[in-house]
């Protein structure tokens, strides 16, 4: 399987240094680096095509609109949406989930209704439901995890009933790496007439995804974790679901007509895109999916299984190190969270940082999961297309150094 190390040349930041050492960037689950192809697409857009989209009656505005709508078509093709209109551009994964929580929840949730989530959700798939629950009187319930760090679907028995109106779950955990039981939870949602919402922030970047094949109602993901820019993400839903979603944000471009008391909405997807959209960001997002398609998502996934397997193998050689997450790489992605003896993850991160290695330390926006794991924080190394085994070796050597500094016997 494919050595992707030649891709590194496309990423200018990977040849910089951090604290006097070549940068070893192991924080791609937080945000990925960007290839020149993406940067040049955005820069070029601003230098030659920039105008506001839609309603423009001059050539430049038409070109800008084509660039924006062309990016939508690219993202649609990338996840195999039935039509480009099924892709709503949002500010990111978080905004996409909020758009569902508000746009569907405010009208359809009420006292006694339940939102069923899992214990490994990112705050982005918890807090929006809490906010909407506060306004509607609904409550949240959670699926536990198995000892093997998988979502425990056997608990559906006790939790799934007609009160459940939403089933929300992560397609891939940003902490454990766990791939979500998408088909099973989608079926569970359907069986009680609930909508299913997939937080695919980590899933769409890291494995081939065919949204139509998932059998779910909504999928949220973002550009910046898949080589694209900050400031843009996407919400996918099949047409008949998007038709049942109210626009959360109001403003220009999303209306058909505005009266003094009421307005009517533009077609899908525009009714969900109030105001001037992130236009240059859409262009960058389109360039990012072009780049990933050229690599091939099967190759991306294979590379990630490989490097994750290597990382798990090498980390297992470090004494006193605990990895949180499935050990079977076919059940997981490339976010590897761990603790080392009694060294606090922030201390670990500082020690690695001094050696040019960027890992994240903390609760990674998953407080409920960390309470369940009974650790206040973990350190996390995470990989992407440009990650190479040599970086894993440097990580392991630096962890040994941490043991020495902390005098771990």
């Amino acid at each position: 399987m494919g050595d992707l190390s030649h891709l590194r040349d496309d990423f200018p930041i990977l040849s910089t240094e951090m604290n006097g050492h070549p940068l070893v960037y192991l924080d791609s689950a937080a945000t990925t680096q960007k290839p020149v192809q993406v940067l040049d697409a955005m820069d070029g857009y601003y230098r030659t095509t920039n105008a506001n989209v839609h309603r423009g009656a001059y050539a430049l505005a038409v070109e800008a609109t084509d660039a924006y709508e062309g990016a939508r078509a690219k993202v649609a093709r990338f996840v195999n949406a039935a039509t480009p209109a099924e892709i709503v551009f949002t500010r990111g994964t978080t905004t996409a989930i909020n758009a569902i929580a508000y746009g569907w929840g405010l009208d359809h949730l009420g006292p006694g209704d339940r939102v069923l989530l899992t214990m490994l959700e990112h705050h982005a798939n918890v807090v929006p439901w809490q906010i909407v629950a506060r306004h509607t009187g609904a409550e949240l319930v959670y699926l536990p995890l198995t000892d093997g760090y998988l979502v425990d679907t056997s608990a559906l028995d006790g939790l799934l009933d007609e009160r459940v109106k939403v089933v929300g779950f992560s397609g891939m955990s940003n902490v454990l790496g766990t791939i979500g039981p998408v088909a099973e939870l989608a079926a569970a949602a359907r069986s009680v007439g609930a909508i299913s919402v997939v937080d695919a922030a980590q899933m769409v970047p890291h494995m081939p995804v065919d949204v139509q094949a998932l059998g779910v109602d909504f999928v949220a993901f973002g550009a910046h974790k898949m080589l694209g820019p900050t400031g843009i993400g996407a919400l996918w839903g099949p047409m008949d679901r998007l038709e049942r979603l109210e626009p959360a944000e109001g403003g220009g471009e999303m209306i058909l007509d505005v009266g003094l008391q009421e307005s009517t909405w533009a077609d899908i997807p525009h009714r969900f895109e109030a105001g001037t959209p992130p236009i240059a960001e859409a262009v960058g997002f389109g360039a990012a999916v072009d780049y990933l398609e050229a690599v091939g998502m099967a190759a991306v996934r294979a590379h990630e299984e490989q490097i994750t397997a290597y990382a798990l193998e090498r980390l297992a050689t470090v004494p006193d190190l605990t990895v949180y997450g499935p050990s079977d790489v076919s059940a997981r992605g490339g976010a590897v969270s761990f603790t080392l003896a009694d060294i606090h993850p922030h201390d670990l991160a500082t020690i690695l940082d001094q050696q040019g290695i960027a890992v994240r330390a903390g609760h990674h926006c998953t407080r409920p999961l960390h309470r369940l794991l009974d650790v206040p924080a973990t350190a996390r190394a995470s990989f992407y297309v440009y990650s190479v085994p040599g970086e894993v070796d440097l990580l392991v050597a630096a962890l040994e150094e941490a043991r020495r500094i902390f005098g771990v016997a």
């Binding site: 500082t350 330390a361 903390g362 500094i405 902390f406 005098g407």
Partner: protein, 149 residues
């Protein structure tokens, strides 16, 4: 590598064997502090009597710097008067470059050392971690200000 300078033995000792650890049932004042960026938590319980901290209890969790700093601070302030503690705090802040201007160093008592606390000097070279070292002190200040006695 200045890491050994940061993680001095005395710091690791306070991290692993924190002094004055625990809640005080009979505290006359307490405060909780959190570092929202990294999640470090410190809780300070005090028994203040006659303008003097007669007892101090520390709980919390976080990195070695925040927890060791709390332990060292507890050791340094236990039994001291509130005025003395203010002096200590100023000198600590000065050492960590936290004071704006040249406030804080009490030139009239040059001999008074910061003891173990001086081991935290190495943190200055790690600007993100300075907040960790400072957290116990800001929490102590809050507790003292909230003290009714």
């Amino acid at each position: 590598m200045s890491l050994d300078e940061l993680y001095r033995e005395v710091i690791l000792d306070h991290y692993r064997n924190p002094r004055h650890r625990g809640r005080l049932e009979h505290a006359t004042a307490h405060a909780e502090g959190q570092n929202p960026l990294c999640g470090d938590e410190v809780r300070i319980d005090l028994v203040v009597d006659g303008g003097r901290v007669v007892e101090i209890g520390v709980t919390g969790q976080g990195c070695s710097i925040s927890q060791a700093s709390a332990s060292m601070m507890a050791e340094a302030v236990a039994g001291k008067s509130v005025a003395e503690i203010e002096g200590l705090s100023s000198r600590f802040r000065a050492m960590m470059d936290l004071e704006e201007g040249d406030a804080g160093i009490d030139e009239s008592r040059p001999g008074e050392s910061l003891g173990d606390l001086e081991a935290l000097q190495g943190v200055r070279r790690f600007p993100v971690r300075i907040k960790c070292a400072a957290l116990p002190w800001t929490t102590l200040k809050e507790a003292l200000e909230g003290d009714a006695g």
